[in-house]
């Protein structure tokens, strides 16, 4: 294997490159250097540690054990999650609500990215469709209440998914990715420009919070518990689907499209189904987002958001529903924790993202099957005797 030159070379050269910026350096920039240095050292340390086989087997065992008790563990985690706001501040509850919303979104995206192996770069488009549907129905035109708007938002996003998917899913990999990117951007641009309908850049204000049997979910804690329940339901449905015949067909398609087609799986329909389903849950998440914020505008549906959600899926571990939740937690909570870095917040966050991938390329909870599938890259697979 090639020698690990990562430690020696770049450090000094980067120093050199930074020096180019020297005339403009202020004293505070020196904060950056220890971070960069630290990153390199950590990388080196991680190499050492991951080299020890014991860790690998320990992890595998832990994952297997966790897999057996997945249901019990999730229940316990949900119970803990439901209790947290009673012992913490409104700020923490707000963050947790965001985490849960993003979890739903990431879980939804995971259906296509993780299970069907389709790269989607404009997923936020479905989220936006859902959010705007709810906003228009409950606030702008006040046509119906939230409980009707919620499924309708899902349905609207699903319809978009089918309309977009029908032509686009015939494309391959990165071509499909950019079509979805285009879709996300188109949705945002329309939302920003159809002033009389969507309020343009001003967005839509005054989206009412839902009520359950006359009880308004006005308090942050009540709303948090509500979205947590929604996440639970979503996860339950998604894990059920993965375990079903459909789910196995999806995985077959992901692993090898040709082989799947050869045993009689209609690859296109499977893709379309997963795409639509994923859009549906994306729409639901959008609807929840709209009522959470009480206000939506195109600013919330940028390409960066799409990428953020995708990061959650990948960071958590592609194809693993628990991973999507973990990824959402990480990507929402870590920047919040980093608020004390002030100006350096996003800088550090970027560095942490790189470091994380270098340490754990399979994500925090990458499913083992997937890791194996990827390990034998093309060259080796062809060489299998």
């Amino acid at each position: 294997m090639p020698e690990n030159g990562l430690l020696r070379g770049p450090l000094f050269s980067y120093l050199g490159l930074i020096l180019i910026f020297l005339p403009f350096l202020r004293e505070r920039v020196w904060l950056v250097l220890p971070i960069m240095l630290g990153g390199r050292l950590l990388h080196w340390g991680a190499d050492r540690i991951s080299a020890s086989l014991a860790l690998q087997t320990w992890r595998e065992k832990a994952v297997r054990r966790a897999g057996r008790n997945a249901f019990a563990i999730s229940l316990a985690l949900f119970a803990v999650a439901a209790l947290i706001p009673f012992f913490s501040s409104g700020y923490v509850t707000d963050i947790l609500t965001s985490v849960v919303l993003y979890s739903i979104l990431a879980t939804a995206l995971n259906i296509t990215v993780g299970l069907s192996g389709i790269l989607v770069l404009g997923f936020i488009g479905f989220y936006a469709v859902g959010a705007y549907t709810t906003a228009l129905l409950t606030a702008k035109f006040a046509l119906c209440g939230f409980w009707l708007a919620l499924p309708l938002s899902g349905a609207a996003a699903l319809a978009c998914g089918v309309v977009l998917g029908a032509p686009a899913l015939r494309l391959k990999g990165d071509y499909l990715a950019i079509v979805t990117l285009g879709f996300g951007e188109i949705v945002r641009i329309f939302a920003n420009n159809l002033d009389s309908f969507t309020g343009g850049p001003n967005g839509i204000l005054g989206i009412p919070r839902p009520a359950i049997m006359g009880w308004q979910l006005a308090s942050p804690v009540a709303f948090y518990l509500f979205v947590l329940t929604c996440l639970g339901v979503t996860l339950l449905i998604v894990t059920r689907i993965i375990g079903s015949r459909y789910g196995r067909a999806w995985i077959a398609v992901r692993e090898n499209e040709m082989a799947a087609a050869a045993i009689g799986i209609d690859v296109f329909r499977k893709h379309l189904l997963s795409f639509a389903l994923s859009a549906f849950f994306g729409g639901i998440a959008g609807s929840l987002f709209a009522v959470k914020q009480g206000f939506i505008s195109p600013d919330s549906f940028t390409f960066f958001e799409s990428v953020l959600v995708l990061c959650m899926v990948v960071l958590g571990g592609i194809g693993n529903p628990a991973g999507a939740v973990a990824g959402a937690f990480l990507l929402v909570a870590v920047p919040e924790m980093l608020r004390d870095f002030q100006l350096y917040r996003m800088l550090v966050f970027g560095g942490v993202m790189v470091a994380f991938m270098v340490f754990r390329p399979n994500g925090i909870m990458g499913s083992l099957t997937f890791a194996l599938e990827v390990d034998d890259s093309r060259d080796e697979r062809e060489g299998l005797p």
Partner: protein
Amino acid sequence: MKKVLAVLVAGLMAVACTKQGGGGDLIKIGVAGPLTGENAAFGQDQLNGVRLAVEEWNAKGGIGGKKIAIVEGDDQRDPKQAVTAANKLVNDGVIGVIGHFNSNCSIPASAVYNKAGIPQISHGSTNPKLTEQNFDTVFRVCGRDDQQGKVAADYVSGTLKLKKVAVLHDKTTYGQGLADEFKKALGSTVQVVAYEGLTTGEKDYSPVVTKIKSLAPELVFFGGVYSEGGLLAKQFRAVGVTVPFMGGDGIMSDEFIKIAGPASEGAFATFGPDTKGAPAAKGFNDSYRKKYGEPGVYSVYAYDAANILLQSLQKAGSDKKKLLEAIRAIDYSGALGKVQFDAKGDVKVSPYVVWKVEGGSYRQVK
């Protein structure tokens, strides 16, 4: 892995801790705005303005023996982040907030502050909607786009006596809001030959420039900020459109002149009256320059907003209700001149005047 994570966390905490100077004997005020991201320049101007005010108060011994500390709330000009940042500030126990800057952030965040009952004094959100929500916690030291649009429109139709104008905006809450108010206030005597939105962050506006050139307007009005405004003015001049360029407070910045270069000559902007040359603001300008370099146009607004908050606090004590009443009743005179709030939280006197670029710098013309 655990070890690595532990090291990582420890490292993060170590850096984080150096930034915090804990202790309960502090009065915390929030600064909420785009401290990072696309509009970070505005956010940093704002932060420095507030910092200066706080340092001055602390140098005088603080309020009631307590020092004042700033809590930052970065919204990255994203409404969602704005709500989160607002929640964080409320949670950190700030007694009041200076900000946000962008109207699209101020509006959703104002609901959070209102619920918590703490005052929010925006230094730069000019969208009328902000103070039309019947929140008793919202104030702003800047003007409103409807006032500003009216001043600009009156100048165009009354003083310049033009008949044909093109209106552009940057598709943001602020820019489009201002452009709409301008258009509304123009009345029937002036014809709007084009009304177009642009994408922020782009560099090339040649399609719209070419199009507008063929329509031959007598003035181009732009609702937006200097980054795009400067490029637009420059690109208009490059293809030979020499009619005056006009904008709102967003282009009222030396940056605009720098970016547009000679093309900025003769451009108009609506903004508050002179602060840089005003004797009232001399103290501010001098000490700001010494600490942070040339003040941005909104630095002084942030500085005064902070002073209003702190002065009211000194008078009213930390009771939330009393504090709000004190702000509403304030009769402040500072770098901006006299500031008083009306029932909605807007400033009583519409502050807008027209400025013109002459000889490479802005001069007040009306």
